[in-house]
């Protein structure tokens, strides 16, 4: 048992609590307990100030705290349970179980550590299939890679991540970790329900620091889940699937704390430490020679602006980015993937093969050309286009519609059964559309089908 030291609260502003210690100053990132009658409030040391004062961030609401309350040191940073004991369990941002299935008594790890070094890491080069046409074709995901789903409010990020969980996690043999950062409690509840029913829960650990919690807790939730995933990777040497919904909320919580700390705001009001904070988290989400972490991260795009500092900084950390766009939503196409904004590092002929690469390239070129022609059509009308361009426009529109797909998790809203389309079928169908084999089928038939064999009119 480490020696405990006692300090005193001298200032409280929002979630920031200043604690004065007379003789011993606790370390940075150390966890402290505020003793408020029979309640104990956790705070974490963020900085040292002159005069033996620790500036701390509260991990719980500070309403009801007063100056002069005693604060004890713990001698450690936040530690969370790891290993087999967390499988099938639900914990909060601080690693405490919230599912009522009892305390965890096994191993605990600190949530702070260094990312794996250069020589320990291994790059991702193998494609893994999701069964979602537009993703498999245009932004193929890599095993052990980092995948980002970008999108503004209400374009379908969470539905897409849920679909990926239901299509990948159910087939995955290793462990999965789901981290809910700053999202809705209702979604947390539905996620648990869904996972219980599909049986994914027994291989999964869930961490929730939802939007009703203090910024400190929201920010730590990401580290808590990540620490669990790292343990599976490094100690159990497993392949881990890591889902994070939503990384932007981690940045947002950081910016709330930054403003409360009185740091000078940087571009668009973000914290000056934005890229460091993000680097500390993202560099730990990686695959090593021991095991892999395939991470799928949802990223909220504030104000639909991809040049906003938060999404712009996150972009550079990812291997594949799927961008969901409101323009596509307005056309009634789901998943609302913007094929021209999305990209993947492994879409290279030597990784995915010539056929896949060339098909994807052709599809993107066709859509790009249609985009350029749209301005001309808007001004001069379709009749002014030459025959070749007209044909291209109709094929591009069919392709756009073909990229819509019914999701298993969305069947309650759409009334369509979910469809899983293997990659070869996608490639075959896209080539058929681009080669003009479907020119006489009306474009409205292409909405929400699987591959082309779903069309009665298609002769193959």
């Amino acid at each position: 048992m480490k020696k405990q030291y006692i300090g005193k609260i001298i200032q409280i502003i929002g979630s920031i609590v200043d604690v004065k210690f007379d003789n011993h100053l606790p370390n940075q990132n150390e966890l402290l307990h505020v003793l408020d009658g029979d309640r104990m409030v956790d705070v974490e040391v963020l900085a040292h100030r002159p005069g033996g004062v620790c500036r701390c961030i509260a991990l719980e609401p500070t309403e009801g705290l007063s100056r002069g309350l005693q604060v004890e040191t713990t001698g450690t940073s936040i530690t969370v349970p790891v290993g087999e004991q967390v499988v099938g369990r639900v914990v909060n941002a601080l690693g405490k179980p919230v599912d009522g299935k009892g305390e965890m008594t096994g191993e605990y790890h600190s949530i702070y550590r260094e990312p794996p070094s250069l020589i320990e890491q291994s790059p991702a080069t193998e494609i893994f299939e999701t069964g979602i046409k537009v993703i498999d074709l245009l932004t193929p995901y890599a095993k052990g890679g980092k995948i980002g789903l970008f999108g503004g409010a209400g374009v379908g990020k969470t539905v897409l991540i849920q679909e990926l969980i239901s299509s990948i996690a159910t087939k995955h043999n290793g462990r999965s970790v789901f981290i809910g950062v700053g999202e809705r409690s209702r979604e947390g509840y539905e996620m648990i329900e869904e996972m219980t029913q599909s049986g994914v829960l027994q291989n999964t650990s869930l961490v929730f620091g939802q939007m009703n919690e203090s910024p400190g807790a929201r920010m730590r939730a990401a580290f808590t889940g990540l620490t669990m995933a790292e343990y599976f990777r490094d100690v159990n040497r497993q392949d881990v699937l890591l889902f994070i919904d939503n990384i932007f909320r981690y940045v947002q919580a950081g910016s709330e704390i930054s403003a409360l700390l009185g740091r000078m705001p940087s571009a668009v009001g973000y914290q000056p430490t934005l890229s460091n904070e993000l680097g500390q988290l993202e560099e730990r989400i990686t695959s090593t020679k021991q095991g892999s972490i395939t991470s799928i991260q949802a990223i909220y795009v504030p104000a639909d602006d991809l040049t906003d500092p938060a999404p712009a900084t996150i972009f550079s950390h990812l291997d594949a980015t799927t961008v969901l766009s409101r323009k596509v939503v307005e056309q009634g196409i789901y998943p609302a993937v913007d094929p021209l904004e999305s990209s993947s590092r492994i879409l290279e002929p030597h990784i995915v093969g010539e056929l896949h690469y060339n098909t994807a390239k052709r599809a993107v070129e066709t859509l790009q050309r249609y985009k350029e022609l749209q301005d001309i059509i808007a001004i001069l009308g379709m009749d002014e286009l030459n025959a070749e361009d007209k044909l291209l426009v109709y094929r591009a529109r069919k392709l756009q519609r073909f990229f819509s797909q019914p999701f298993a998790v969305a069947s309650v809203y759409t009334g369509f059964e979910g469809k899983y389309v293997p990659l070869e079928k996608t490639i075959e169908s896209v080539n058929a559309i681009l080669d003009g084999k479907c020119d006489d089928i009306p474009e409205s038939k292409f909405y929400f089908i699987g591959d082309l064999s779903d069309l009665e009119e298609y002769k193959g």
């Binding site: 200032q11 502003i13 002069g68």
Partner: protein, 503 residues
Amino acid sequence: MEKHEFSFITDELKEQIRSFRFDNGMKDAGRLVACGDGVLTIEGLTNVKNGELIYINGGKYALAMNLEEKQVGAILLTNAYDLSEGDLAYSTGRIVSVPVGDELLGRVVNPLGLPLDGGKPIPGEKLRNIEAPAPAIFDRAKVDEPLYTGIMALDSMIPIGKGQRELIIGDRQTGKTAIAVDAILNQKGKDVICVYVAIGQKIASVNSVIQTLKAHDAMDYTVVVCSTASETAPLQYLAPYTGTAIAEEFMYSGKDVLIVYDDLSKHAVAYRTISLLLKRPSGREAYPGDIFYIHSRLLERSAKLSEKMGGGSLTALPIIETLAGDISAYIPTNVISITDGQIYLESELFHSGIRPAVNVGLSVSRVGGSAQCKAMKKVSGQVRLDLAHYREMAQFSQFGADLDLATMAVLGKGARLTESLKQNQCAPKKMCDMVVSLVITMKDWLSDIAVKDVNPFLDGFLRDLHLNHPELTDRLEREQTFSDEDADKIKEYLTQYKESRKA
């Protein structure tokens, strides 16, 4: 030696003078050292809690916000007249709480729970803190029961479930409040309690809402919490929390509650005012860093509770006003990212006569689909997509593209569907009427009716149906299911009705 001791004493004295603090035992009392703009600086009050209510001589109240090392920053909840430096302040030991319970039904109160309707004082036997934690994940249940607004465009395409948070967003004068008020009116006789929170509204607008509610006998099951534009920013800031506390009391006693926040843009502005006056650092658009958190923790308190917790629900309809249709501004996207969907109203649609002016493409309900009744789900599954495709097609076909027959059919059906979704204010529709209208338009049985005649025709047919075939409409309303045989019957009746019109 003597001299040395002497200087020791003066040093000691100097040190004591330097470190003198206004304390003299005033742990629960303090003195005003500055006041202005509704912000007070108080010395003393060493025991005051964060968020505690402070009483100031002369019957005024303030809220402790910043507990600094030597002083307390507080915001004034009442007006600032006759306050002066040196006034005494006392901590009350209470976090702000308001009276709750059945006696509030039909009343209009301010954010501190004081009556504004000229009625008798509220006894306040039961108090509730206005700040409370949101229900935990494991205290929740699935949103699976519909909350009908009586507006066909919403109940079919953007359905709302009990426990859902659905944002109403749009420019000024696009009918945001009208939708919320219609939703309240439609709860009549459905055992749902409503709370309407007016934040920073002008008194005349609040009054007209109250008059509408009274005129439709909706005040019996409604509480109005009102902070008008002339009231202090702190009071406007507290209003939604007060409303939520009142609503929570009903929710935790197992009832279904609907709360309307009109509107959260003004709430954000009020909070920004407070933060800037308290000299808290500001971020984007000068809003403080925790602007997201004040809305997220408010709206997360709306939920559907599990059976164990009594099974009550709190459904929230927050309203956000946009400028020039910009839903991607800071506060709008913040709130969109908190709620379970949004109803987006557009002024162009409003002016071109489509009312409610719902932009179906940008409106969404993330959970409502699973809460729809069987009949509605069956007939409305395709409505949203059909409309989206119709609009996209209509835009594309403007440019003289060759139209095949399939496309022409999509366009005709889309135009009739759009027409049939128009609806007047304060005229909620019954579930069975909506289902019947949707079946007819979706099956394209109106292709022989001119677009402008769609609504009169449907109204006439529904009247005829209720009169001549009540067994069908009654069963629909009661059992909330709809079978293919029902569709056949409706088709038969429709043909008869068309015949009778010709004759």
